[in-house]
Every structure is written in C-alpha cells, then in structure tokens.
Symmetry: C2
Subunit: 228 residues, 2 copies
C-alpha cells in the first residue's frame, strides 16, 4: 500500500521504516524538505539528524506534506501534537478525503517544563480536533500509548500487552487493525474502544505513561488490560 | 488501626467493610448522619440504601465527617471527587494534621452527561488540591484506577495487575503499601509513581477506564504494566 507518514521524528521514522520493511511504498512528509535535510545535529533527546537516518533507509522518500498527502492511500499523523493540525492543513484536505488517517500523535505541551502537560484534554482530544477539521478523512487513533520501538515490535516487550483503536469508521478501523497485525500485534491484544471520543482516554493516559517512564528509566513497556 | 472512611458510596462501603474484616476499627463519615440513614431507596446505579448495608456491617459505625476524622488514625477519602474538599473541610483540618490521608477519589463531572469528564485534570489533580488545602496531612493517592470490588479483592481479577501509589511522604506511602498488602496486593504489583504530582496520571487514566467499561460491560478489570 502507498503510505504517507507525516512527521520526521522518532515515531515517524520508526513507523516509516517498519512499513517499508513490510513491503509498503512509504513517503515521509515534512514542512520543508530542504530544512529537514539541512539539520546536522542530534536533537535534544539524542536522535540522529534525519539525513543520517535516511542514509540507512533510502527506500523511504522525503517529501513535502502536500506531496506525501498525495502519495499516500493511507496517511499517518506522526507529527508533534501541537503541530498536527497545521501539518495536516499543509498536507491538504483534498489529499485526505476518503482516506484512512491514522493518528498516533500526542498533544504534549512542554511550555511549562517537564514533565509536559497536554495542550488538549478532558473535554476534547487531538483526534477529535483532527476529525472535525478534516470531516472527509477517516480518523483512527492508535499506537499513541507507547514508545515508537514498541509500536513496531510488540514482541520486544514480553508477554501480552495491548494496543487501543478508536474511530468512527468501521472499515477504516479494520484497515488499521490489519496494519497493526503486520506490525506484530495479535488480534487478542488489539482493543477497539469504539468511536473517536475514546481517543480522549488514550491521550489522557500519557501522564501515567510519563510517570512510569520516570520510574523505570526506559521506555520499553506497555499496559495489558486484565479482566475477570 | 483506627480508620476513618469518608463517603458512604460503594467505594467507601467496600473499603470500610474490608478494613473491618481485617480487624481494623473503622468509622464511616458522612455529612449528615440522619439524612444518610433516612435514605430508603436504591441509588441511580442500583446500590442499596446505606442503612440496609449497615444492617449487614454493624461493626462499622456511621459518624459525621468531623467525628470520623477525630476517630481515624488514618483517613480515607472515598467521597465523590467534586465533594471531596468540602467533606475534608467538614472533617476538620486539625483532625487531619500529621495523619495519612488516603485519597481514592475521582473528580468525575457528570454535568455534561455520560461518559463523565473530570472536574480537574492536566495541570492539576484532586490529590494535589487536597494536599495544598491540607498541608499538614500526608496525602497518598491510590486505588482510584479500579472498581471498588477490585480494590479489596485483587485476586478476583486473574493474573498480575497493578495498583499505583503517589505522594510526598515516604513513611505515609509505606503505611499505605502495608494496607494494600492487607487487601491482597502483592509487593510486585504495587507501583510507586513518586510524588503527589503523579496523581495526575492516575486520575487522567479514568477516561480510558470508562472506555474499557463500555467495551467490556462489566467493571472487573485492571491494568498490568508489562516491561522489557
């Protein structure tokens, strides 16, 4: 499938590399291709410059958001949550019409220091904002509740643990569940939470995730729902 | 130990009954004892009137918030989150001074219909509000991430699953961990998230819990953190 991954950060790179390795035709979208390629230093959390990553992942093409949006039959929003609506606007609404739009972003607000708060929460969610802004796209929230390394390699965390899915369009969710299975997620660990409003819970889980990160000192963990 | 449980709802009754069964001297606090005992109908979610419950749990005395606060060497806030600060005010700050104050409440706001939102979230939490309002109490957030039946009977949900603890006072958290062990929680399933700010994540988990409740149709579940 032709997939557009919007966002050149760790989540975008990791998903783009994984989808490419599974035979998909993947483009990564960015605001300014030249600016992205001109970055020569590791970022503040130690990630290599994009150009270095692309040297090892030459099958993944870097494009503008608009070109990536046109390329993808399915579009993944892996931008920083605070920049997501602008990135999707740049990808152009007409490029999103009728397509599955997989939202893996978290609206983290670092402006008040660490740990971050959320820039949208409680009475709304980023995924709902995106669905309202792009009503012709079929938004599916998923994968935002874990580190990128876990998204594409669930077996890297031992035992059963879960990935959540929320969205209004049943067919779009089936498409996304199929992609999740390709990434290694077992059917019994894909939990469909219903409509897009359930993205609130998925996004509001982030502060708990961040507290756990502080406790464990490493990001390779996830949660499993256990029930009677 | 002399324990005061503030709140006559399901969480308060369940904890009070469980602590009593384990040999503690428990009082339940309420705003108006006569009014609580005068209730003769089941509530909107099907719970029996308090007087009926107390007929089966006659070892648990019902008192005013102030009398319960004076009784308890340890105080549990199991009131509705929106009423917690007023209930604790009624229990009197001087009754809370130096004591462990276990906060199991969730600040659910039903005013906009179902599912509820939170009346405090993201940049603050109920537990932090309580700690600020009662600086001489040793607030420990715990148990709010699950149904009351799971709080006092973790073995009712099969396999390993976790309970979180957050608070500023290390000795208070040790006391609370001891109580959790009495309730059946294994050491390896008691996850200390650090200071009281981590209560934000514990409280903001509630919308995900509510989405899971809608999926499963029953409340006997909990989460387990799985890590590499």
């Amino acid at each position: 499938m032709k997939i557009a991954v919007l966002g050149t950060g760790v989540a975008g790179r990791t998903l783009a590399g994984s989808f490419t390795g599974r035979g998909h035709d993947v483009a990564i979208g960015t605001r300014d291709v030249d600016a992205t390629l001109a970055i020569s230093e590791t970022d503040r959390i130690g990630n290599a410059p994009f150009s270095q990553w692309q040297g090892d992942n030459s099958d993944v093409r870097l494009m503008t958001f608009a070109d990536a949006g046109a390329h993808g039959e399915l579009v993944v929003n892996a931008t920083a949550g605070g920049a997501s609506l602008a990135a999707l606007e740049a990808a152009r609404a007409d490029n999103l019409t009728g397509k599955v739009l997989v939202d893996v972003a978290n609206a983290l607000d670092f402006s008040q220091g660490m740990p971050p708060t959320l820039s949208v929460a409680n009475t709304d969610s980023l995924a709902e904002q995106i669905q309202r802004a792009f009503p012709e796209a079929k938004v599916v929230k998923t994968l935002n509740t874990m580190n990128a390394s876990v998204m594409v390699n669930p077996a890297g965390v031992p035992g059963d643990h879960d990935v959540f899915v929320a969205g209004e369009d049943a067919d779009a969710k089936e498409t996304v569940k199929g992609l999740l299975r390709e990434l290694g997620w077992k059917d019994g660990n894909i939990v469909d939470l219903g409509g897009i409003r359930s993205a609130r819970g998925m996004e509001m889980y982030l502060p708990l995730w961040l507290s756990l990160m502080a406790v464990y000192g490493q990001p390779s963990y996830n949660i499993k729902v256990v029930r009677a």
